[in-house]
Each structure stands twice: as C-alpha cells, then as structure tokens.
Symmetry: D3
Amino acid sequence: MTDYILSDDTRAKLKKVSTASVATALFKRGIRNQYIQGVLPVAVKSETMVGQAFTLRYLPAREDRNPITVFRDANHPQRVAMETCPAGHVLVMDARGDARAATAGSILITRLALRGAAGVVSDGGFRDMAGIGALDMPAYCAGPSAPTNLTLHEALDINIPVACGGVAVFPGDVMLGDGDGVMVIPAHLAEEIAAECAEMEVFEDFVLEQVKNGAGIIGLYPPTQESNQVAFAAWRKTTGR
Amino acid sequence: MTDYILSDDTRAKLKKVSTASVATALFKRGIRNQYIQGVLPVAVKSETMVGQAFTLRYLPAREDRNPITVFRDANHPQRVAMETCPAGHVLVMDARGDARAATAGSILITRLALRGAAGVVSDGGFRDMAGIGALDMPAYCAGPSAPTNLTLHEALDINIPVACGGVAVFPGDVMLGDGDGVMVIPAHLAEEIAAECAEMEVFEDFVLEQVKNGAGIIGLYPPTQESNQVAFAAWRKTTGR
Amino acid sequence: MTDYILSDDTRAKLKKVSTASVATALFKRGIRNQYIQGVLPVAVKSETMVGQAFTLRYLPAREDRNPITVFRDANHPQRVAMETCPAGHVLVMDARGDARAATAGSILITRLALRGAAGVVSDGGFRDMAGIGALDMPAYCAGPSAPTNLTLHEALDINIPVACGGVAVFPGDVMLGDGDGVMVIPAHLAEEIAAECAEMEVFEDFVLEQVKNGAGIIGLYPPTQESNQVAFAAWRKTTGR
Amino acid sequence: MTDYILSDDTRAKLKKVSTASVATALFKRGIRNQYIQGVLPVAVKSETMVGQAFTLRYLPAREDRNPITVFRDANHPQRVAMETCPAGHVLVMDARGDARAATAGSILITRLALRGAAGVVSDGGFRDMAGIGALDMPAYCAGPSAPTNLTLHEALDINIPVACGGVAVFPGDVMLGDGDGVMVIPAHLAEEIAAECAEMEVFEDFVLEQVKNGAGIIGLYPPTQESNQVAFAAWRKTTGR
Amino acid sequence: MTDYILSDDTRAKLKKVSTASVATALFKRGIRNQYIQGVLPVAVKSETMVGQAFTLRYLPAREDRNPITVFRDANHPQRVAMETCPAGHVLVMDARGDARAATAGSILITRLALRGAAGVVSDGGFRDMAGIGALDMPAYCAGPSAPTNLTLHEALDINIPVACGGVAVFPGDVMLGDGDGVMVIPAHLAEEIAAECAEMEVFEDFVLEQVKNGAGIIGLYPPTQESNQVAFAAWRKTTGR
Amino acid sequence: MTDYILSDDTRAKLKKVSTASVATALFKRGIRNQYIQGVLPVAVKSETMVGQAFTLRYLPAREDRNPITVFRDANHPQRVAMETCPAGHVLVMDARGDARAATAGSILITRLALRGAAGVVSDGGFRDMAGIGALDMPAYCAGPSAPTNLTLHEALDINIPVACGGVAVFPGDVMLGDGDGVMVIPAHLAEEIAAECAEMEVFEDFVLEQVKNGAGIIGLYPPTQESNQVAFAAWRKTTGR
C-alpha cells in the first residue's frame, strides 16, 4: 500500500511527540479524523508508541465457521498475524468497535511483544488485561472482555486497509500512541509531521514553563505578541533546544 | 469465495419465503446472527428480494484521499460496483453502520436497477430516498442522509467479504429481504433453507387460517396435538399445497 | 398487584384522550416518566388503545435453555401469555429494549387479537410487521426483527411488574396508546386522569379552533386572559361539550 | 448575527434544490457537517422547505424552575418564539438531540404555521405528530414524544446561535428541507450555493434521464466523457433549461 | 431455582480460574453470552471472586412509589437484600444497565461484606466508589453515580432470575470475577467447568512460560504439534501440576 | 444570573460533603437531575472540589469559522474563559457531551489553576490528561481526546446558562466534585444544602462506624429504631461532632 519505511531518525523524533501535537499538525492540513476513538491504553507506559501499521481485519463471526477447533489450523489469521507482524510495527485490529468479545489475550500479545512489535491497537476487547498491561510493549483497546474472539469476531484478512476506532488505517501508516490514545499518521506525511511536531513540542515546553511562572496565555499561545517570540528564541538558545 | 450459483428454482422458492422463516431455519442449525440489524426497506415492495451478494466495502474517508474530483476516475470503486454488480445479484454495502453520510443516491441506484440487479442493501444512508423508493428494485438502508459518501465513506474494495448491519456477508451468500428487513443465507445452505422454509410457509399459512377461525395456538403451533397434524395433512390435500 | 378494574365508562373517556394530555396530567402530579420510550405504532389506527396491563417478562436467552423445541411445551410462557391475557387487556412485554430479535410474530398476535385483547406493547421487535399492522388491534414495538425470540429472549414470567421502554408497568396499570406512542397510567390514578384529561381535550379542541381562526397562544393557552375563559365557557355551551 | 436577507429570487431557486445537492456544494467548499442528524420529516410534503433560521434554545429542565404554571407567564420563551418567529423563517429548536420529551405540540405548531413560518425543525420530539403532519408547513423532528417539554427541556433563549442535530445554526442561516432531511446553509454562502445547486439540479435531471434510457454512469456522472458534455448542452437547448 | 450448592472444593478450584477460561469452556458447550457486559471492578483485587448468585431486581422508579421515606420500611427490598444475602454468595443487581443512578453505596456494601458475602455485581452505578473499593470484598458495577437509587431504580424482587449486563442470572448460578469482569456459570455446569478450567489454567501457564522463553504460538496454542504435548506432559511432571 | 456569593463558611462546610449526600438532599426537594452524567475525575484528589460555576459554551465547529488561526485572536472565547474565570470558581464547559475532540489541554488548564480556579468540568474531552491530572486543581471530563477543540467545538459564549452532562448549569451555581463525579447545587439552595449535608455526613460517619462494628442497617439507616437515635446522640457528644 505504501513504500514508505519509517527511519530510525523519524521514529526517534516521533517518540518525543504527543498525540495532541500530531492531531493539530494534521488538522492544519485539513485531515481531521485520525484519532482512534473509544480506545484507551491498557496500562500507562513511559514511552510513546511509534511504529508502522500492520493490520488484521475481523468480520462478525458466523457460528459454523468459528468452532473452537479453528485454532488448530496453522493458517488461522489471528495466530498468523501475531507471528508475522514485523518487528517495530504496530498490530492494528479492526473489530468494528465491538468490545463485547476479545480480539486477543495475554499469551498472544506476549508473543507479539517478544517478536519485537512496537505495540498493538484494537477497537475490540482484550482478555487478561492485567497480563497485557504488565508487558513493556504498549497496548490499546476498547476495554476488557472475557469471551474468546470466536464468539463475535472472525479473523479474516492480514495487512489490508482497515477501519479502527472510526479511522482508516492503511498498512504502513505510522501509529503514535501516548496516554491520551492513538493517532494515525498517513505514511506520506510522516516525515513532515515528525519535523513539525518536534518543533511544536519545543515551543509547548517553553509555553508551559512560562505559564508555570505566571504568564498569561493570550499573546503567548500562540505567540502573537512579539516579545514572546523573542523570549522563545532566547530560551531555545539558553536551553540548547 | 463460493462456487454456488442460485438456481431459478431455488430463487422461485425463496421468493415465497419470509425473513422470519429463514431466521428460524438458520437458528435450528445454530446460526443465529444473520439478520442485518438497523436496516429498513426504503419503500414497501410486493415482491421479496432474492439474490446473491455482490459487495462493496467503504472505509472511513480520509480527507486528502476523498476530494470531489475522485469521481472523475473511471475506476472509482463505488461507480465500478454499480456497473459490475451482476444481474440478479444484490449489491451489499459495508458502511460500518454509519448512516451520517450517504452510500449512494438515486442516480446510481437507478443505474443499478436498470442493469438488472435484484436489490441493494447498505448499512449506511441513502440520499434521495424518494427516488430510490420509487424504483421497482427493493432497496434497504439505515436511513436518509444528504451528505455525499465522500464525507465519511471511501469506497475501497469490491466483492470481498464484508460486515453489513453486524452480519458477515460473503460474496455469493443469498440475500433475502421483505418488509421486516434482510436475512443473509450462507451460500452452502441456500438449497436446504429454501426447501425447508417453503414447507414452513405452507404450514404457517395453515396455522394462520386456523387461528383466524378461532383456534388456539397451543398444540397447533407447533402441532404437538396429533389432530392438528391430521388436519394439516388434510388441508394440504384440499388446497393442493 | 391492584384490585382496580377499568370501568366501561372510564375506558370510554380514555378512548377520547391523547397520550400528550395523559403525560401532562401525570406531570402535574409529579409523575414524569410514564411514556414508553423507543416504541412506535406498527400501523396507524383510528382508535386509541386503552386497556389494563397484562405482562410478560423476557430474560436474555441462554442457549441451552432455548432450543426450538421449547415451543412444544404447552406451558411455554410466551404462548401461555397469548392464551391467558384477558379480553380488554393490553399485553405488555419487557424485552429490555432489545429489538435485535422478535418478541412475537403475526400468528401469535393474531391469536391475541382474536381473543379480544385491547392491544400489545413490546420494547423488543416484532416479526411480520405487515401482518400485525393489518389487524384491527393496535400494536406497538421497537421495530421489525426477523430472528425468533429464542435467539435473544427467554419468556419467563407472566403478569409480574416489568419495565417496558424505561417505564415501570404494574399489572393492572392502564395503557393508553395513540399515534405518538404509549403512556402508562398508574391504576390508582386512572379515574382521576380520565376525568381531568377528558376536560383537557375539550379545552384543547377549543384552543385549536381559536388558533385556526387566527388567535395568538399567549393568554389563550393557558387561558390567563379572562376573555378567553369567557369565550371557552360560551363555546362549551354552544357546542354542548 | 447576519445582515443577510434571503431574497425571493434565491428562495425560489432553492425551492427547486435538494438537500443532497446542497451537501455536495458545501462539501466542495470544505464545509462537511451541515446536515442535521437524527431528524426526519413529520410528513412528506411536495414543497421543499426554505427559510432563514430563527432559533430557540432549550436547557435540561430543573424541576423547581419548570412547574406547569410557567406557561401562565406571557414571556415564556417557548410561547414567545412561536409568536415572534418572522414569516418566511424556519423555527429551529435545540433540544440537545433528546427526543424523550416533546419540544412542541400541534397547537403551537399550528399557530406558527398560521403566522406564516416556512417550517420548523427540532432535534427533540413533537407531540401530536398527526396534527403537525397534517399542516401545509413542513416540520422535522427526532420522533414523537408525549411528555411535555417541561419534563426535560426548559426553553431559555431566543435567536442565539444553537446546535441542532449536531450542526451549528446561526440565526439567519438558510434552512433547506426535503424528504431526506434538513441542511443548514451558512448565510454568507446562500446566494452562491443557490446558484450552483440550481445548475446541479439541471444536470442531474439530464443524467437521470440518460440513465433511465440505459446510459452507464462512468463518463456521464461526472461528465468526463466529452460526448456527454455535448449531449448535455444540446439537451439544455432542447428543453430550454 | 437450583438445588446446586457450591462445594468448598469447587470454590477453591474456581478461585484459580480466569474469566477468559470460563468463557472459552462455556463457548465449547454452545453457551456464548455469559459475560456481564459493561461492568468493571471497582478496585483491583488479588483474589478472584467466586460465589453463587443471590439477586435483587430494580424496576424504573415511579416517583409516587419512591419518596425518601421508603427506607424507613424495614421490608424495603434493597435493605433486605443486604441483610439476607447468604455468606459466600454474590449479590447480583439488575438495574437494566442504567448507571445514571446508584444501586448501592458504601454503607450498604460494607454491611454486605461484613455479613460474609463473596462479592457484589450491579449493572447500575455505585456511590462512594472509594469506600467500596477499599473493602476486601470484590465489587463490580457500571460506574460511579451520586444519585440515590430512588431517583431511577425501585428495588422490587429478591432472588428471582434477573438480567445483569445482558446476561440471564438465575439464583444459584456461580459468579466468577477477575480483573476482566464477571462470568456467570450456569449452576448445573459449575462442577465440570471448574474441572475443565483448572486444567486449562495449568496448560496456559505452561504455554505462557514457553512463549516467554521464545516459543511461537502455532503448534503450541493449541498444541497441535506433538512435541508440545510431550513437553507439556514433562512440564507437569517437573512442576508437580 | 444570581447574586449569590459562596461564603468561606459554606465553602468550608461543603468541602466535607460528598456528592452522594448532595444528591440525596436535592432529591428530597424534588430536584433529581443535578449529577453531571458521563464525566469522571482526571485524577483522584484528596480534596473535594467546591466553587461557583463560570461557564463556557461550545457549538459544533463549522470548518470555515474554525481554522487554526482563530487562536491568534486575543478575544477567542476559549482563551478568554481561561483568563477571566474568577479565582475560587469552577470553569464549566458545555461540549454537548461529545468527547471525540478536546475542549482544553494541559497548558490552558495549568493557566486556569495558576489563576486560582477551584476546578474545571467539561462534558467533552481533554488532551494531555497526564499533565492535567498532575495539577492540584481537580478536573473532570468525559475522557481523553487528542484532537484540538477546533475539530468539533467552537467556543462561543462565556458565562451564560449551559448544559453539562445533561444538567442545566447556571452561572453562580455551586459545583461540588469528589471521586464519584460532580453535582450542581442551585445557587439559591447552596446554604441549606450545605447545612443539611454537613449533618448527613456526621450521621453517615456514625452509621459506618456502627456497621463496621457489626450493626445491621435496618432500623439504623435510617434510624427508625429509637435506640439508634439515642446512640447517635451519645456518639455526637463523645466525638464532639
């Protein structure tokens, strides 16, 4: 779907960027709907999740196609997705926003983490949230759910464009997740968004410091007052940022 | 996805069958979730809709991919779907159940009807419902919606398995629609469901006649009382059914 | 639950009363939540539905308790409800507001009508809406639904207090339905509500006539302007109401 | 909020325009969210509703502020709105999309119609839908609801900007309603939208005629194929449009 | 409803079982809908909740039946439920999934805990979540809610079958709760589910250990590869499980 | 809207009062709907939030009115609200309960806190929840959301009556928030609610102590048994409360 490969440099930049900044930078480009709705971090992580999307699509499960025995099939798409998602990528699952059943549990997500994935995002449920939350790898879902995916979700397609939390996710898009949730950065914009947001974070750090020192926000955020632009330039020099 | 081809004979049988009977016949086989939820007929039709599914999948529309100019592309999937859905088939659209924007309007659906389609089902909205309702071809959707599909829905894939109204629809499945909505009959069960339901309709016609004549339902529906089985056999002889 | 028996006289009065008037009269008594939410008439009827509640409670259907064979049981509560709801009563079904499956179909509702019931209200679905709508007896539900009740609803209790559309319905409460839906009148208030609403309807007929003749609503509705009270008194005399 | 006054000429143009065309014309300008969600016509009307917005805002009703006696106040905002909405305007009510109680009934809406209003739109409920639907004036709401507005809605402000069905409506914006629902045209765009949409309707009439005659949609809709542009020009000449 | 009494041995087994395993074991038996939807633990507990259901049903509260004075009645069902729920049982409240008002607060739940209950589950709200979360006894609800139950919920029936979070709960069914939520085990299946799930947990512990050591999931989970069956047998011997 | 000014004494009293007590005290006065639905604390705080409401109303954002450049306007209502909300007040934002976009982020809320506000409540989303949660000032919202408010919300009015979480909030009403959420106390009732609830808390502390010591709730809560009234009186003397 895309030839874009996330470079180490861009990944590093994005690691310091917030979902809020990404949302604003995309908004400026007329792209307004890239926040995955209804999905929260399974556990708070210190590091920001960054990685290209590798996708899995679930359909509603028809009972005759989804007995428990399907997992004996070495080609079952859910299991294959866990074993083929490339290291450094984020597995994104489309469960039609239906969290009444799980889309994965801690055994599978542990395997995914050990294989080096950068994270996992599902707009369905997860089972054994505690086990998943204890992993270093960030995970996002729509809530805990004990029922096996076979109850409501049939894993069908790997790495095709999907919908997740109301957002179109194309394989290779860059997923970025923090405590507020997950943004989808279209692959062709990843470089410029990374660059722009890195700058935004510097400026917001400056603003927050000013505000904590008692400054008002009008004229400062955005810096329409020239003195604030001057102060920011000075601050960058001083702080080396 | 399936080699099954709906025969004229089976189609004719199914034309006399209700969605309720199909739902019950599938329920007996442990298949419980084949009723397309949240979708109503655009207008009441005298004939039952019967046809194999030909599908179109929409994703959430990303703004930069969906300017109005995309319709100038002769390969735009929405337009291609209208021009390639085989005669006698039902076009089934997966719009993630989001009726806040249209998935088609009367010009496209008129074209579809003229090309001989057996019907159309969308779990998104339609625009110009009056124009669509005036066609002979049955149409089902989640409600009227003026906004163009580009607002929220990007047409992406043709004839892959989709979700519609919470049901998995595989290309070639048999869609059956009446005043109560639409059932999805898995292709491999179409023949036996048609046969079984044809018998069910005969029996229900008998039961309704009895009830209208004052009979109670216990022992009659189902006919656990032997006298009712005898009466039914007699009625079939008399009525030639 | 109540010893109250709806008299012919009160029934006759209520037949001329609207759900809107009942809602307002109950509101004046601090009873604000008696309108059954999410339920519409299956078909428009010229007569207002009036009758005491006879109830049926559905629970979520557990699969092992709800095979198709349960209908062979002469004591199945759904079928028993249809055969025992007293003439002149309204069968009220509690399906937890879940219309994804039917709570009855046209054969059962036809039997109910033939037994003399005054109406039926369900906050679940109905199958064969056309057949039900064609009956003289008014019927209200949350929408069409092809799946048999066994799919999601197990009929369990007859004539206990239930919830329907977010309203508590006690056996014997008076159900009143028109084109706007259904109100539940607590049994102990039925007489006074009937009397008060009959008067309200007379006054509203007067007001509507005035408005159609060009009168403004301020001072007229309610009649804070004395001249309107005088005019109303005169109108009652003239019209004999 | 706006000095714009809808001219007779523009009103006449808009009377022939569909909500679908308006939605597309606004979409081309990057304005994507002007369709009032969740609101349907009370009854089908032959004429399109066109008029500038005059607004009424409801807040959640606090019980001590909303006894039945408030209607005795000649300044009650709901009643005042009915008596002050200018002729040719559309009364737009913001009820926070909550249809569990009415925002008006047939007496008030009849008065509004007699005063010459062009229509009424509420994202709450209406009571006595039959009475309202029988008026010549078009009316749109989120469904029938028997409870008086006092139950859940306190009328508070007249003619301030409001939200209706998820759309911002500024007094003076042009409301346009047909069988598919209602679009809000920002006042400053009304002229150009009217002109553009009038042209769109002509073209769509041509296209529909072609389609009914067997033409395919690719190359015709939009007319990327030159022969279709030529045919359209000829058709305009012939039909005098 | 059931004569089944949960033995100490089965309780002990179930204490080591997860909701996920129970869901899968029931799924294998065709029972797919026993996970209480929309309900989360008030606070994380180290021990799994296990106990038979003792139920309380709430109806929508009619204002005239639910003044604050009803709590003066020594027979008020909410208070009686707290004082009669047997030790070792789980109090299950049916509030129709409506968390806009509380179904209990910390004083009542503290009393319940002191009386030896094994836990409490409500699909309505709780007030003073902090106080409830601080108890040793596990508690599950649909969220915090300050309003007293009288606002929306009338406690009516004790220990009849109820719906909770979309699941039928019969008195005596075995409730099992962990960090992912709550499963309802039909009483007649409790023994076999306990036995089967105890085995499943052993196997899953083995699998997780293998995965953490770098094993892939295909062929291991489920163990279709014979070497994994051998390894598991060896592991059981070694670990004494 | 109100002349009421919250005194230090009343504020101090309310600081020791729970939302549950306030809800009950208002319920006794027939005011049942003052709990802000769908809103949770961003982080647990040891102190109760108390302050008079200062409001900000958002409308759905029309794209042409809400480019990123609007923040350059020194009069942008969102920024002005942050700079003008009086110390000791609670900023209450009406975002129509739509948390798909943020209504503020940590820079603005930090400024608000530094200016001495007593808290902030929004029925929309917040971005940078971690930053907001780390402040001493309590904050409540409907969930995290990365998109800027401009995406869906246009800040329009300052300090007019608004709806927040389904509750009418009039400027000057007293907001009270704890771990269970937020109650709105009508300004004219603040004094008497404070007094009554202070007494309720004393009694509930007594009851909880009794319950922890093994007392049953019937006859104690409420204290219909005289001995409990006597015990309470004694307890007050002993504890000096």
